[in-house]
């Protein structure tokens, strides 16, 4: 990649620039204001997040990347209301968030479908909680099942589904509540590459057609660039905002764009942010590996 001459990732075409201008005029859906989170343990206090600020506009798609342990999950859990911020606050439509609620749907990496409920009943769960009667909840759930293409499985239990199918059900279950924000914590992390790219297209399709704002954690740079309007890059120790990147690729997205100059430029920049050049530690390890004696018939693989 380094041999290619790539444009600056900040260079935007008019179409892209206009789009971002329009996004910024939309109402603010979620606001993260000065959020810090400390965990106290036996060995002292860990600062998981330090002064995070972020404004997400209506129907925006924001991805979060950062090294492992930089506090991505902690941030999304605070936004979901599953965890309390030590400092600062999260606002949804101007109101401070203090506990979990159906207007902030959440999709976890581990699916978390209710194993004792069928696909249909899983999707009906939130609807029933919000006061739908059984009949209308069922009708509504059926529509969602059709939308995610699992009509044949509506009475199957989760253990009978593949990982990708489970995650589709989990997404439908969260969206059935008509949330304002869909929070997703590495939802496709456990899927194989092929299923993963199918799920990405699927999610894009859903997002295009449904009035929902998406906040999406991933550790896959391609995924982040492909899906996001903006990418929040966090760094660790403590978890801080390193940069917020506007992805210079026009919407609607298409898998062909994976090889465009803008895409590669953005990816190169992200690579540099996440894996800085000075990696002496790893070099040392590699040197050690070279000292391990090799006893094989081939001699050299080159």
């Amino acid at each position: 990649m380094s041999d290619l001459i790539l444009p600056d990732y900040r260079v935007q075409t008019d179409a892209v620039r206009n789009r971002f201008a329009r996004i910024k005029k939309r109402p603010v859906t979620m606001e993260v204001k000065g959020v810090s989170k400390y965990f106290s343990s036996k060995h002292g206090t860990i600062t998981a997040l330090k002064d995070i600020n972020l404004t997400i506009h209506k129907r925006e798609f924001v991805c979060v990347i950062g090294p492992s342990g930089c506090g991505k999950s902690t941030l999304i859990r605070i936004m979901a209301g599953l965890e309390q911020a030590s400092e600062g606050e999260v606002r949804l439509d101007g109101k401070a968030v203090d506990k979990p609620g159906p207007e902030r749907g959440m999709v976890f990496q581990g699916y978390t479908l209710f194993p004792w409920l069928s696909v249909k009943q899983n999707i009906m769960f939130g609807l029933r909680e919000s006061g739908y009667n059984k009949g209308s909840a069922e009708a509504e759930a059926r529509q969602w099942i059709e939308l995610i293409g699992l009509s044949r499985f509506e009475n199957s239990y989760p253990h009978q589904l593949s990982g990708g199918m489970k995650q589709r059900v989990a997404i439908a279950r969260a969206l059935a509540n008509k949330p304002k924000v869909l929070l997703m914590d590495e939802p496709f992390g456990a899927l194989d590459a092929q299923t993963r790219s199918k799920m990405q297209s699927h999610l894009m399709e859903i997002w295009k057609n449904i009035d929902v704002t998406v906040f999406f954690i991933t550790h896959d740079l391609d995924e982040a660039i492909y899906l996001a309007d903006r990418i929040l890059v966090l760094k660790s120790n403590p978890g801080e905002v390193q940069e917020i990147i506007e992805v210079p690729i026009p919407q609607p997205r298409h898998p062909d764009q994976f090889l465009t100059a803008e895409f590669l430029a953005t990816k190169k920049h992200l690579e540099q942010l996440i894996h800085p050049a000075n990696q002496d530690d790893d070099e040392d390890h590699l040197n050690l590996i070279r000292m391990v004696p090799v006893n094989d018939d081939v001699g050299s693989v080159f």
């Binding site: 979901a80 159906p102 749907g105 978390t112 479908l113 194993p115 409920l117």
Partner: protein
């Protein structure tokens, strides 16, 4: 496939064979010890007392004693005693137990005051049933509350933790003093024996529910009530069922204590009585009936469990 692969199920045919073997092998062992004369058989059953004055027909005497007396008789030139090798009275042969098993259901008890085997059994089953039911009705809800809410956990568990170390039999006399001498104190002993364990075990099972499911429920808008009834309860149900099955097995062990207090009755009393009369074939018959009954109940519960919980892919 090999018969010994770690943590891999056997193929259905060998599984069936091995299961059958698990019963056949002990029975075979029993038959061998009972019917092959030169294996064990430390006694001699007298068939012909000969000149030994204190030998009687059908009497069991020690092998060594029999030999000494035979040598004595031979030296004196008097009539030799005769006998066949036999096992001690406490190890009846399989066919004797089968006969007793059959007789226990067909011939009335020797004394009119005694109960038939099936009557004793029925009385035992009732004691277990009521004791266990009572314990479950109170214990399971308390356990679930303690497992769900830290408040109830702190409120109940320390005391129960203390109480469960008090042996249930110690309450026998107290139970009789308070509840009279008939079934009630026996039920109380079963209750005391299971209840405290039950609360703790159910609380633990409840706590083991995947917290991610609770969080998923919260983000789907479930309120406190729904969390308890629509997530915690169905979520732990299969494990709760399994716990209950295991605890029911424990209840059976407390039966032995329970039936020896107040007016003695039930299957364990039957066994004690028969042992006293040295009718060990009856003792074995009764023990085997308990085994069959316990196993049947457990298999039935296991089968029902698979019906109840179709979302479980294993067990």
């Amino acid at each position: 496939m090999s018969l010994f692969s770690v943590n891999k199920p056997l193929n259905p045919r060998s599984r069936k064979t091995v299961t059958i073997c698990s019963f056949i092998l002990p029975i075979l062992l029993w038959c061998v010890v009972s019917y092959v004369p030169f294996i064990w058989h430390p006694m001699v059953e007298i068939t012909q007392p000969g000149s030994v004055s204190y030998f009687r027909e059908n009497m069991l005497v020690d092998k060594v004693l029999f030999k000494t007396e035979s040598i004595n008789a031979a030296e004196k030139g008097t009539e030799l005693p005769a006998g066949i090798p036999a096992n001690p009275v406490y190890l009846p042969a399989p066919h004797e137990v089968v006969k007793a098993f059959y007789a226990s259901f067909t011939t009335p008890p020797t004394r009119s005051s005694e109960l038939w085997l099936h009557e004793s059994l029925w009385s035992s089953l009732q004691v277990i049933f009521y004791g266990f039911l009572l314990s479950s009705i109170i214990g399971i809800p308390l356990g679930i509350l303690a497992g769900t809410y830290d408040f109830f956990s702190r409120l109940f568990e320390p005391f129960i933790e203390f109480f469960r170390y008090l042996p249930a039999p110690a309450f026998g006399a107290l139970a009789v003093a308070i509840l009279g001498i008939y079934q009630a104190p026996k039920i109380a002993i079963i209750f005391i024996g299971t209840f405290f364990q039950q609360v703790l075990i159910v609380a633990n099972t409840t706590r083991k529910l995947d917290p991610a499911l609770l969080e998923a429920g919260q983000t789907l808008g479930a309120g406190n009530r729904s969390m308890l009834f629509r997530i915690v309860l169905p979520g732990i149900l299969p494990d709760l069922y399994r716990d209950t099955r295991i605890l029911l097995g424990w209840a059976w062990t407390y039966l032995i204590v329970a039936e020896l207090i107040g007016t003695s009755s039930g299957i364990t009393w039957f066994i004690t009585q028969q042992a006293r009369y040295k009718n060990f074939d009856n003792v074995f018959a009764a023990i085997i009936i308990i085994g069959i009954l316990g196993l049947t109940i457990d298999l039935l519960l296991a089968w029902l469990g698979r019906r109840f919980f179709p979302w479980q892919n294993t067990n």
